[in-house]
Subunit: 147 residues, 2 copies
DNA sequence: CTATTTAAGACTATTATAGTCCTGTATTAG
DNA sequence: CTAATACAGGACTATAATAGTCTTAAATAG
């Protein structure tokens, strides 16, 4: 099973790109190219972040997208939830109006605790952290490759 | 997003049923009825646990299924993994043979840590725990309902 | 022998995700 | 003012994953 969806992964990569080139305005086309994402799809994705106020958009020639906040202030949790909503271990399905077993469901509390664990873990990671880590590791790579 | 799938939920309920009526052999039909699960579908599900040695099956008249292990020895993790495989936050998709960004992927370690957290949480819960919790909470209910 | 019940695989239906396309509107360079 | 650029948004299609059904075979209790 897979928790993080494709478009969420795309979103993260795009935002890391924006965070790395802070100040600059990058077009969807440019981002898509550098991050291996279908352009039209990426546009859709970025729109969600614009609505959430995480990304600014600039129409017209020389337009594009830029981060609306400091990279240190955008958490992975926000990004993931923007794309796929609140992560749930299990919203109980049976029963039209909520799970009929709900009162004595032995798992509810456990699922909730796991959800909280993941959420708080994600809330502790910011775009800035990701940018830093990428820089760190690519420094090694470049050194290695230079002869 | 939803981590636990429908059939996994069915599986858990079925196993809790078997754990609660330890020793007894219950037919798929009986379990399905008491747990609101489509019978044929449940059969498919139980087969997986038979193969894993978690459930014993008994063919023929008066046959059915029974737990092959002590309820305290079957963990939620085993159950979930039997149904949906190892839980992954994100197996990176791009690239035929693994993610090309892998070397400097800023998230890999984070995803792994989260996966471990969830897995160890689930490994700490057994069918016995679930049965106990159900008994606990239904005691209240019965009391409440008896006028 | 016959009812019952699991085993197993093929098949279908439904839903979720991924991806495309088209039309419109704002912006800006010239 | 105009043409080119680039986002906005909705409709549409494709693909894949999940859920669920059906059919035939094999085992076993009585």
């Amino acid at each position: 099973m897979e928790v993080i969806r494709r478009n969420t992964e795309y979103a993260i990569r795009a935002l890391v790109h924006l965070a790395a080139n802070r100040e600059a305005v990058a077009s969807a086309w440019e981002i898509a190219g550098s991050q291996d994402v279908p352009v039209e799809f990426l546009q859709k994705i970025l729109q969600k972040f614009v609505k959430r106020g995480i990304v600014d958009s600039h129409r017209g020639a020389q337009g594009g997208f830029s981060l609306a906040k400091e990279p240190g202030e955008v958490t992975l949790l926000e990004v993931v939830e923007t794309m796929q909503g609140k992560l749930a271990m299990n919203r109980c399905f049976l029963g039209r109006d909520g799970c009929p077993r709900s009162p004595n469901c032995p798992l509810k509390q456990n699922w909730l605790r796991m959800e909280e664990q993941i959420a708080s873990h994600m809330a502790g990671i910011t775009l800035q952290d990701l940018v830093d880590q990428v820089r760190e590791s690519s420094r090694f790579e470049v050194r290695g490759e230079r002869q």
